[in-house]
């Protein structure tokens, strides 16, 4: 756990840089986290981010599969928006916990 300043606001993050309090998140913070990930956010990114936040705040678990079937973005598009590890990157930028894969 650590304090980090994004867009002039101090937030708490995990060792891997995920916000621990989703309500501290703002669009400005998202833009700065995205920069650290080498991404410039567009409206398409924000549509996905807002969808992810909505689902997490409802207590739902996220999977790439369910996001790809959501109608907000397809799996291919999700990879294009957040290249490499889309779920890990997108949740970090969305200010929610890193999804755990359970066995």
């Amino acid at each position: 756990m650590a304090e980090k300043i994004f867009a002039g606001v101090s937030v708490t993050v995990t060792d891997e840089g995920y916000l621990t309090i989703p309500s501290q998140w703002t669009k400005e913070i998202a833009i700065e986290i995205a920069k650290e990930e080498g991404l410039t956010l567009t409206d398409k990114h924000f549509a996905v981010i807002e969808y992810l936040r909505e689902r997490v705040l409802k207590g739902e678990a996220l999977t790439i599969r369910s996001i790809g079937k959501s109608g907000v973005v397809d799996t291919k598009g999700f990879y294009e928006l957040f290249p490499g590890a889309p779920l890990k990157k997108a949740t970090k930028i969305a200010g929610v916990a890193k999804p755990v894969s359970c066995v």
Partner: protein, 410 residues
């Protein structure tokens, strides 16, 4: 007369039929179990079939042999359930009503969810070992194969028996070594995970073993499609892996009637209270095993532990009490690592697999998270235990909830 209906006569359903039948008065309770397949498959045995260790006859027995005579066994397909009127609708129009329902219909492979999986090479050069037909077909292929690239891939998380594809590549390494062609066989393991396994300590141990056995691991590989013409699998991020033979774990999903009944998530798993094993939606419905969405392994050993908790909770509810027993997600799995050795992992919702001795501290005789011969004999002995103790709902000499005894915490 109170009616209990159990959907699915696999590991979970059979155990529950035995446990409840023993615990309840015959004159007040009627138990019905419904399944569309008369055969009980010893699914852990499918892994050994491609390598000729087990034959078809080693993994089959009639389901009826394991269901108590006083339990009504209905052989039919479930069309849907209506949880508001407490009715189960079967193919052909039969309706069975219940007071309490247990859904334990498991998880099954859905090869048609992956584009290209069931094209021209299906069961010719592309196989699954999660069905008897698939593992038998792969055995026929392996017998005459002279080498090339063997790729073992996982389509989607979660899937049944999360260690099985790892065991598969370990056993393949042994099989081709013994056939004297290991130098002609390249083995590649692809996974959508970022490592060999989900839990950190176990991933390290298994990662080292894979390296030692010269098995290449491709991580974060989320499969988009399979190209049968070029014999390549493609990931969503544009990578590709070529294969001469592909052993594939297709997308796993719960039974179709679950979505038809409006009970499941996007993979047809039913939202379940992970402690009490009650449905999140309906108080008189209980979910056991792979059918549930609880965050632990989809495996028979888990179902066995969970069945003890579920029995206790159902008996409490029948007495008008609130269910008190809490499942901890206990999983206990042998991992075959080849050449007559196996590792053992024991973990739950909160504790990842650790090193140590099992079940008795220091003495073991089994060792956790380390390949040993005695663990391998444990795995082979499990088949006898499965048919003779586990399915019949008898207790195993292992605690229901996980014990920290013998575990080493770093």
């Amino acid at each position: 007369m109170n009616k209990i209906v159990i959907l699915g006569a696999g590991t979970g359903g059979t155990i529950m039929a035995n446990r409840l039948y023993k615990s309840l008065s015959k004159k007040d309770w009627e138990i019905t179990i419904i399944d569309n397949d008369p055969i009980h498959y010893y699914q852990p045995g499918f892994l050994f079939i491609p390598f000729g260790t087990y034959k078809k006859k080693d993994v089959l027995k009639p389901k009826a042999d394991f269901i108590p005579k006083g339990v009504k066994f209905v052989l039919n397909k479930i069309d849907r359930i209506d949880p508001k009127t407490n009715n189960v609708f079967l193919d052909g129009g039969d309706v069975i009503s219940y007071d309490y329902l247990i859904i334990t219909t498991g998880t099954h492979i859905k090869p048609d969810e992956t584009p290209g999986l069931m094209d021209s090479l299906w069961r010719k050069k592309i196989f699954d070992f999660y069905t008897l037909e698939g593992s038998l077909a792969l055995h026929e292929f392996f017998k005459t194969w002279q080498g090339g690239t063997l790729v073992s891939s996982i389509a989607e998380m979660p899937f049944k028996c999360p260690v099985a594809p790892l065991e598969f590549v370990f056993l393949a390494d042994e099989y081709f070594t013994k056939r004297g062609i290991r130098d002609k066989v390249k083995i590649i393991y692809t996974t959508p995970l970022s490592g060999a396994f989900t839990k950190p300590k176990c991933t390290l141990v298994l990662g080292d073993l894979l390296k030692e056995k010269n098995i290449e691991v491709v991580t974060d590989f989320y499969i988009e499609r399979i190209d049968n013409d070029t014999q390549t699998i493609h990931s969503f991020d544009g990578r590709e892996v070529k294969f001469d033979v592909l052993s594939f774990v297709p997308v796993n999903m719960g039974a179709d009637f679950i979505s038809k009944s409006g009970l499941g998530d996007d993979l047809n798993y039913i939202p379940t209270n992970k402690f009490t094993l009650q449905s999140e939606q309906f108080e008189n419905i209980f979910i056991l095993g792979d059918t549930s969405n609880i965050p632990t392994s989809k495996a028979g050993a888990v179902v066995h532990f969970a069945s003890e908790i579920l029995t206790e909770n159902m008996l409490s509810i029948f007495k008008g009490e609130t269910p008190k027993a809490q499942f901890d997600g206990h999983a206990n799995c042998f991992i075959e690592t080849g050449f007559g050795k196996a590792a053992l992992i024991d973990f739950n919702y909160d504790v990842e697999p650790l090193r140590g001795a099992f079940p008795i501290p220091i003495l073991g005789p089994m060792k956790l998270l380390k390949p040993t011969r005695i663990n391998h004999f444990g795995k082979l002995a499990f088949r006898w235990i499965y048919w003779n103790i586990l399915l019949k709902g008898r207790d195993l000499p292992v605690s229901t909830n996980m014990s920290m005894k013998g575990k080493i915490v770093d």
